[in-house]
């Protein structure tokens, strides 16, 4: 059996819950971010770019690159590497702009 990160730190997590990604259930552990839950499920992309329509997912993992944006509970442009996966969170692949209302 392959070692996992959870084995390494002897994790005894609380019970898993479920989030919804593009209409299908994805398991999440308490405390994981949305991006972490998606990685754990083998999903690496949840956005397509505005110009080239290319797939993107988490890149920097710490909130700096904004590549991991998705629509979360109807709100576009959410950084999934920062947002905790709460029970019942709905995540949809974001195509293009979403809605940009941040000053940068």
């Amino acid at each position: 059996m392959r070692r996992t990160p959870a084995d390494l730190v002897r994790a005894e997590p609380g019970p898993a819950h479920t989030i919804e990604f593009d209409g299908r259930p994805v398991p999440a552990l308490p405390g994981q971010t949305i991006a972490a839950a998606l990685w754990a499920d083998g999903v690496l992309a949840w956005r397509t770019t505005r110009v080239g329509g290319k797939p993107r997912g988490a890149f920097c993992g710490i909130g700096a690159c904004y590549d991991c944006l998705a629509t979360v509970d109807g709100q576009p442009n959410q950084r999934t590497c920062l947002l905790p996966a709460e029970p019942g969170t709905t995540v949809t692949t974001q195509e293009g702009h979403g809605r940009a209302d941040l000053a940068v």
């Binding site: 392959r2 990160p5 730190v9 690496l44 797939p55 988490a58 920097c60 993992g61 710490i62 000053a103």
Partner: protein, 506 residues
């Protein structure tokens, strides 16, 4: 089972949100921005010396990137296994808890500071965002400010670097440390700098297969100054620790090499590695393909200093071509009342950051410092500068670019559009290139593409003069970012019209 003694209840339970004591009450003696090694050490030391402090951090847990650890819900009973020097962190966190209890320190987690305002002599206002809504904002007042915002990773583009599965080396580590997840099973680690060995060793210990660590330099830079190395034995032990983990797992270190292309359509499936000459130019005919399902890549760290540079703080150019804050022996920046510690003064690791945090706290409190602490700082700084010099990107890296390689990930601006702006439209600096091409104008504000754009524009990190003469690097100017992070427009409007619908700002 708590993962550390210092879990915060989060922004909702913290003071410092709108209208709470931190915004409405008496100003703090010191506001520390960043709760990583430098900021933690500074806050607890300042509190030991009698100062009342606010410690602000954008994240929900203390420790910063270096001591990033699993969320409490994940129930990690051995978080120490992901860290060197975990007991150092728990020591600092325990002291912080004691000071929070006695009311000396308010920990404001989930507070991302986007601007510093100097309202007068010993009168600072820190403007922070705490969430997406117009009311998710706070203003913190303090007599002095210490910037301990750390660093973020320097990226150099290559064909295929925007594919899913290509992640930053620090990002792979961050997701592992906080969420206990990996981007793939077979992960190539590439780029340059000591972080690569640390990342590779965490990844293999956590169960990933790492077919290769691909490092652009040959590490000879270290060997040239053995005296500096001998003075910092702890550093060597740490390096050897990573080395033995890598050996045990059969990880191959390929020096003087780089990933020059990532392959795949919807996600990375393989990379091409090539040898580099001393200037980091790929050597034709040396390419070999390595199958993988993820790539963790990074080229050293960049100090995160825009809160200070927007106020006109002077910077210096470090030996690896980054801009860091200029500070004096008391860790004062050139802006009165603004101190800095750790990576903001030049990347040097956690030990140095903690030392500087302690020093800066003494300086703010106007107390004398032990000379041993000063000696420790200069020893660790010397080592940091040496490391920086050996990992400075060579000018030849642009040799692995293709005309259609995206340089700016946010605005999808390829190499040929940037070259056109420089060669045909005469843009001579990164700022003009940015205006002409939109490179660096997207969400990340140029954090991912800044060094590459500066280099292609003929200035900045890693261009060098190609002579290899050993002359100091050219002056690097920090990127301009009026806001240190994107701010919801409703919050900005509320700041500007304090009595408007958003309510008073302070």
């Amino acid at each position: 089972m708590p993962t550390s003694p210092s879990e915060s209840p989060g922004a909702a339970g913290s003071p410092g949100v709108q209208g709470s004591p931190a915004t409405a009450g008496a100003p703090y003696d010191l506001a520390v921005i960043g709760a990583g090694p430098a900021g933690l050490a500074a806050a607890v030391t300042a509190a030991d010396l009698g100062l009342r402090c606010a410690l602000l951090d954008a994240g929900q847990r203390t420790g910063g990137q270096y001591y990033r650890h699993p969320a409490p819900g994940l129930g990690a009973t051995r978080p120490d296994r992901l860290h060197h020097g975990w007991s150092v962190y728990t020591g600092l966190a325990g002291r912080l808890d004691a000071h929070r209890e006695s009311g000396r320190v308010d920990l404001l987690s989930g507070h991302q500071v986007w601007a510093l305002e100097r309202a007068g002599e010993r009168d600072w206002r820190l403007h922070a965002t705490t969430g997406p809504a117009a009311d998710d904002r706070a203003t913190v007042r303090a007599a002095a400010v210490l910037l301990a915002t750390g660093a973020y990773e320097r990226q150099l583009p290559f064909p295929g670097w925007t594919l899913p599965g290509v992640v930053t080396a620090g990002g792979a580590q961050a997701m592992l440390k906080s969420g206990l997840v990996l981007p793939g099973r077979r992960i190539v680690v590439a780029g340059s700098g000591p972080l690569l060995l640390a990342a590779a060793s965490s990844l293999v210990t956590a169960g990933a297969e790492v077919p290769a660590v691909v490092e652009a330099t040959n590490y000879l830079g270290y060997a040239r100054r053995p005296g500096v190395l001998a003075a910092v034995p702890a550093k060597l032990v740490e390096g050897a620790g990573h080395g033995s983990a890598l050996l045990r797992h059969g990880v191959r270190l390929r020096r003087s090499s780089a990933v020059v292309e990532a392959h795949g359509t919807d996600r990375v499936t393989a990379v091409t590695v090539a040898r580099l000459d001393a200037e980091w130019r790929p050597v034709p005919g040396t390419e070999r393909r390595i199958a993988c399902d993820a790539l963790a890549v990074g080229h050293g760290l960049l100090p995160q200093i825009e809160l200070a540079t927007e106020l006109g703080a002077a910077t210096r150019t470090t030996p690896d071509g980054t801009a860091a804050l200029s500070v004096d022996a008391r860790l004062r920046t050139t802006v009165p009342g603004l101190w800095a510690a750790g990576e903001t003064c030049g990347v040097g690791g956690a030990d140095l950051a903690i030392t500087e945090g302690e020093l800066a706290a003494h300086a703010v409190a106007d107390r004398p410092v032990r000379s041993a602490l000063l000696r420790r700082r200069s020893r660790l700084r010397a080592f940091a500068e040496l490391m920086a010099a050996s990992h400075r990107p060579g000018p030849g890296w642009t040799g692995w670019l293709r005309p259609d390689t995206d340089v700016c990930r946010c605005e999808e601006v390829p190499v040929d559009r940037i070259r056109e702006a420089v060669e045909e439209l005469g843009a001579g600096d990164a700022r003009t290139v940015k205006l002409l091409t939109r490179a660096g104008m997207g969400w990340c504000q140029g954090r991912m593409c800044g060094p590459a754009v500066a280099c292609l524009a003929g200035a900045g990190a890693g261009t060098g003069d190609g002579s290899g003469s050993g002359a100091g690097p050219e002056e690097v100017r920090p990127d301009s970012r009026p806001f240190a992070c994107p701010v919801p427009l409703g919050q900005l409007a509320a700041e500007r019209h304090p009595d408007g619908p958003g309510g008073p700002a302070s």
